[in-house]
């Protein structure tokens, strides 16, 4: 029988999570968001972020202008630390490998950013991350941009090109899988077995694209992705290449959004759509022959209300993925996977915040694809269906310190609410309490 464990923290552990990183930070220079950007522009982090990393209209303009606004720094370096503790509701001691470091304090991530203006129209956001769970260092997100503004207000158009290593890391809205909520989550808790391809290619691909924002209203982007090998291998430096995706040729991505701001930028709204078509070899060690085709089409919307005292934002995102298994052998020749996520945020005085989110994954059953026969991570019904909610409380004692308490609850996990893995485990057994301190410097 699984053993139910308490979610309570010991006082010593709590003190460690809260105060050790804070003490470290107090010895450092005051900073903000991606702090090299703040040092470059002299702006407060909460000018470009509703609450980091969610971008305000000013933050989106900074990104669209190629990270070049402000004065070029001699050394555009910044750093990040995430220290966390996860408590999964039910830890089965017979399956201890599925719960590494549960109820342990972990250095979740330590990152160094090289981010800032490189030349008059050229800028970069790049990150190298030490994963404190896997004890491994590798490249993280990277987005190199060349951008220019053409014409004068109000007919100005911003246009640019981007080289990046993660689909949608270049996007300017906080709806998609890369920059959407949750902005940080447990690195050790069980997670649903299904996911769309657009969120699974980070640090494995090289993306080249061109984008434009016309009259501050219409945003469009066209990009293409290829395997980040050979001349592009820097974009996946340090990753486990054996597990990396191998793509056939160039794979297109498109993005179209309508945005509007009113009340001197106090209100902003966006309606958008995007899509990607991926041809992926089933075995990255044999990148030839037939390839599976995965086609995602997404629709998203965002609203933000921003003042110094009150900040409110709402996001919706839905993706439909058509999977055609031309090369892999699963139960079906083709499958469908649908992802939905919504999020509401409120921040008071930029210091106290709450995020509420609902998510769901739905699709047709495919026994060979989802029924791995494994306890905890498997699906006895061969189903990708999962849904649940996230409640997250935030406290920012300083602009560059975030303490987050996040609860993730599952009403269905890998196909069922109860005995989803065929070994007696229920969806709610994977409910997770996650406490994290996040520092930027």
């Amino acid at each position: 029988m699984p053993i139910q464990q308490s979610l309570a923290y010991s006082p010593a552990r709590m003190a460690g999570i809260f105060f050790l990183p804070v003490l470290l930070l107090l010895m450092m220079q005051p900073a903000h968001a991606v702090p090299s950007f703040a040092r470059q522009t002299k702006l407060d982090c909460m000018t470009c972020h509703v609450s980091w990393p969610e971008l305000t209209p000013t933050g989106r303009l900074f990104k669209l202008n190629g990270y070049t606004l402000g004065e070029q720094l001699r050394v555009p370096l910044a750093g990040m630390l995430q220290v966390s503790r996860t408590s999964t509701a039910n830890v089965d001691p017979r399956q201890a490998d599925n719960f590494p470091k549960d109820r342990e304090l972990v250095l979740q991530q330590a990152s160094v950013f090289v981010s800032g203006k490189l030349a008059e129209q050229l800028g970069i956001f790049s990150q190298v991350t030490y994963d404190g769970v896997a004890h491994h260092t590798s490249i993280d997100n990277l987005d190199l941009r060349y951008a220019q503004r053409f014409g004068e207000s109000p007919q100005a158009t911003i246009a640019g090109v981007t080289l990046h290593n993660n689909p949608m890391v270049q996007d300017i809205y906080n709806t998609g899988p890369i920059w959407g909520f949750p902005f940080a989550s447990s690195p050790v808790a069980p997670a649903p077995n299904a996911g769309t391809v657009i969120e699974s290619l980070g640090q494995q691909v090289a993306g080249f694209g061109a984008y434009a924002l016309w009259h501050n209203t219409v945003y469009a982007e066209l990009s293409a992705y290829r395997t980040a090998d050979k001349a592009f291998s820097l974009l996946r430096a340090g990753t486990d290449h054996a597990g990396d995706a191998a793509l056939r040729g160039l794979n297109p991505y498109w993005r179209l959004a309508l945005q509007h701001e009113w009340g001197a930028g106090m209100h902003s709204a966006m309606l958008g759509t995007y899509g990607i078509n991926i041809n992926r070899y089933p075995d990255s060690g044999m990148p030839f022959g037939a390839a599976d085709r995965l086609r995602d089409i997404g629709f998203d919307a965002q609203y933000q209300y921003i003042t110094d005292r009150h900040r409110f934002s709402a996001q919706l995102n839905t993706i439909r993925e058509n999977q055609r298994w031309n090369a892999s052998s699963f139960s079906n020749q083709s499958d469908v996977l649908k992802s939905f996520r919504s999020k509401l945020s409120y921040y008071y005085q930029k210091q106290y915040g709450i995020n509420l989110s609902y998510f769901s994954l739905r699709g047709n059953g495919d026994d060979l694809l989802y029924n791995t026969g494994a306890p905890v991570t498997g699906s006895a019904g061969g189903s990708p269906n999962s849904n649940g909610y996230v409640v997250e409380l935030n406290y920012l004692p300083r602009r560059d310190i975030r303490i987050a308490l996040q609860y993730t609850g599952y009403t269905r996990f890998n196909g069922a609410a109860s005995n989803y893995d065929g070994f007696g485990r229920n969806a709610r057994n994977n409910n997770t309490l996650y406490l994290m301190t996040w520092l930027m410097f």
């Binding site: 522009t41 702006l43 303009l61 606004l69 053409f150 501050n216 050979k230 001349a231 160039l250 001197a264």
Partner: protein, 93 residues
Amino acid sequence: MDAQHCQRRRMLKQGAVALVSLAALPLAGLYRDAAAGASRFDLHYQDRPKDGQRCADCAAFIPPADGSGTQGACRVVAGQIDRDGWCMAFTRK
């Protein structure tokens, strides 16, 4: 060997397309109108203060060199900036 050769050719072709695309921006004649800094319109710049906030008190404001006059510049917004102006990037010093 042939496969490698083809792959190299494809990579060179892709690199060339990327470079040509970069070069095409100024060649397209658009460079003439290119400007540094963010658009005033995009940042909702106005020539008057808002709720007691004015550019002279903003961290991004660059005062006029002679110390007098009302027109300065900004690290973020393009063009001349009025001391008493305001935009949505306002950050108090």
